[in-house]
Point group: C3
Chain length 252, copies 3
Amino acid sequence: MPIITLTTDFGTRDGYVGAIKGVIARIAPDARVVDIAHDVPRGDIAHAAWVVATATREFPVETIHVVVVDPGVGGARREVIVETRGHWYVGPDNGVFAYVAADAHRAWLADASGFGHAVSPTFHGRDVFAPVAASLANGYRPSGLEVRLTGALPWGARPASNGRIVHVDQFGNLVSDLPAEDAGETVLIAGKAIPIVRTYEDVPPEHLLAYIGSAGTVEIAVRDGRADQLLSVRRGTLVVSVAAGAPSGPYR
Amino acid sequence: MPIITLTTDFGTRDGYVGAIKGVIARIAPDARVVDIAHDVPRGDIAHAAWVVATATREFPVETIHVVVVDPGVGGARREVIVETRGHWYVGPDNGVFAYVAADAHRAWLADASGFGHAVSPTFHGRDVFAPVAASLANGYRPSGLEVRLTGALPWGARPASNGRIVHVDQFGNLVSDLPAEDAGETVLIAGKAIPIVRTYEDVPPEHLLAYIGSAGTVEIAVRDGRADQLLSVRRGTLVVSVAAGAPSGPYR
Amino acid sequence: MPIITLTTDFGTRDGYVGAIKGVIARIAPDARVVDIAHDVPRGDIAHAAWVVATATREFPVETIHVVVVDPGVGGARREVIVETRGHWYVGPDNGVFAYVAADAHRAWLADASGFGHAVSPTFHGRDVFAPVAASLANGYRPSGLEVRLTGALPWGARPASNGRIVHVDQFGNLVSDLPAEDAGETVLIAGKAIPIVRTYEDVPPEHLLAYIGSAGTVEIAVRDGRADQLLSVRRGTLVVSVAAGAPSGPYR
C-alpha cells in the first residue's frame, strides 16, 4: 500500500487539508495518507524544509511526500517532483526541498494536466500536488527533461566545523545544523558558552543545555523552559563549536 | 474500503476525537477514517458548514462524512443522516448541512439504538454519529420516513448577481458565495472597489486583491497579509459585483 | 489490521509526530496509525493520563496505544509496556498510565534494542516507543520479569463518595472522577452548590450546570461558556456529592 505524507501550513480549522485528502482518495484509493504537520507557520519555507527533512527520512523507501507551504502559489515559482534516496517529493520549488535535495537527487516539473483536476491559480495543493502524488502512488513516473531546483533558504552553506540555528521547535528548542561529529565539548551562541551534555536531566530545571538532538545535530534547550525566549536568537545565528577549556557552569 | 471523514470543533488536546475513532474502529474495522478539521471554532455552525461543503465535494462517492459541531447536543435539535450527490452525511440538524443540502438531497433521523453504544446526553459524536456512520460503512441504509432539514445559517439566500462573505479562513482570506460566472471585473465591499485579478502575485505585497478562489467563488485577500484585519467585515457582509469601470488601483 | 494510536504533546508544527509515523510504517507496514491527540499541554502528565483513559477504552481489544508525554525523557523514569483489559500501552512510567493501570494489569520494561532504531537520549517516542509498538503490532509479546509501575498523579486515591476535578477540557468543562453512581442531586465545589441536570439546555445560556459527562462521571460546565474561567479551580479540587436538599437555583 503506497504511503503519501502531507506537510502544510493550512492548519486544521479549514477544509483545505480535507480537500487534498479527498482528491487523493479519488485518484489513488489504495494510498494511505499520513499527516506529518499542518501547523507549519504560515508561509515559513525554512520551517517546512526542516520538518520535511527530519520527518520523512524515517519513512520506508517509495514513500511520496507532499509539501504545501507555498506563499507564491500561482506566481513564478515552479511545481516540482523530486526523487532522492528512494523517496518522492512533490511541492513548490521555493526552498522547501533545500535539505532533502542536499543529497543526490533528480527533479522534474510537476505537470498535473490529465491527472483529474482543473487547476485553480490559488490552490495547487489540491489541484496539482495532490493529483501528481496520487498518480505517483498509482505507478506514474516522471519522464522527460530533468530540471535544476532553484529554491533556496535564507542561509547559505554551513560554515566549516560550525553550525547555524536552522529550526525552532514548538518547545522553544533551538536546533542547529552542527552535526555530532563536529561538535566539541561546548558551543558558543549569543555570547554564551554552553557545555554539551547528554539529556535534559543533566542540568537543573530552567537551565540552559546543549546536546545532540534527535536529528543528530546540536540542539540548545532550557530544561522545562524555552530556549528561544531565554536567548532571543534568530534562525541563521552562528553556533560555534569549542573543543574544550571553555568556561562552564550553570546558565540561566 | 469505505471512507469516513471527521469534521469537529473538539480540538486535538482532549480524547474526544480519539473516542469517536475508537467507536468506528470497533464497529467498522474496515473503514478508513480521514480527519478533515478538528479546530473548527467552538460551536461555529456556519464555519463548519462551509468546511464540509468545500472539502467533502472532493471525495469519491459513497464517502460518509461525520460532522460534530453541535452546541445544542442533548437538546431539541435532531440528529440526521443526509444523502446528496452520492455522499452520506451524519450530524446534527443545526445548519451544518446548509450548503451540501442546497442540492437535491434526502434526509432521515439518525437512530443509534442497537448500534453498539449507550447514548450519553452530551457526546452524540461518540454515541450517535460515530455508530451510525460506522453502520453506514458496514452497509446499513436508512429506511422509513424522510424528514425535512430545519437547520439554517444566519444569512438567507444569496441576493441575485451578488454575494456575501460566508467564510473567513485561517489566513484571514474572506471567502464569498459569489460564483465566478456572476463576478464582474471588480467587487465592492466595505466601501472599497477591488479589481478581480488572477492570483496573489498580481498585486504588490500587503495589497488587497479579489480573485476566483478554490471554491469557484470570489475571495478577497491581502497578499502576505490578512484581509479580515484590514477590512474588519463580518460574515454575511454583502459583496457587490461590478461589471467594469469602477475605480481601480492599489489598495492598502 | 493492527491499530496503533498516538497521544503526544508534540503539536502539529514540527516533524516529531511524522517521524514516529515513519518508524511505524517502516517496521509494521500493515499497522493502521490513529491520531488521538497531539496538543496535550506540554509535559502535562495528568492531562495525558485522562485523555488516554477515556479515549482508548473505546477501541477494540488488541489495540496498541503509544503515549509520548515525557518531560523526563532520557532521565531516570523507565520506559514500559502495559497490558490491561486486552489493550497494550507503550510509554514512559511517569503517571500517564495511572488511570488505565487502576484496573488489573501487567507491565514490563520496554526494551527497544534490536527493534530497528538507534536510541537518542531525547526522542524516545521515535526511538523506543514507536519501534516497540510496531513490534507489538507484528506479534512481539514481552516476556521475562514483570515490573510494578511507579508513575503517579499529584492527587491520590479518590475520597469515598466524593470526587476531584481531574481534567479541564478545551471547552473549559471541569471533569471529575466522581462516578454517576456516587453522585447525588447536587455537587458542592468552590463554595457553590450546583444541581445535577441532564444536559446543557437544561440551564439558561452562561449558567453553571453539573451533569453526568461522557466518561460516566460528574462534569461541571457553563452553557455556551467556560467553567474553568468562572470557577477558577485547579485540578485536584474536591467535588462533594450532596444527596438532596442543598440550595439550588441559577448560578452565574
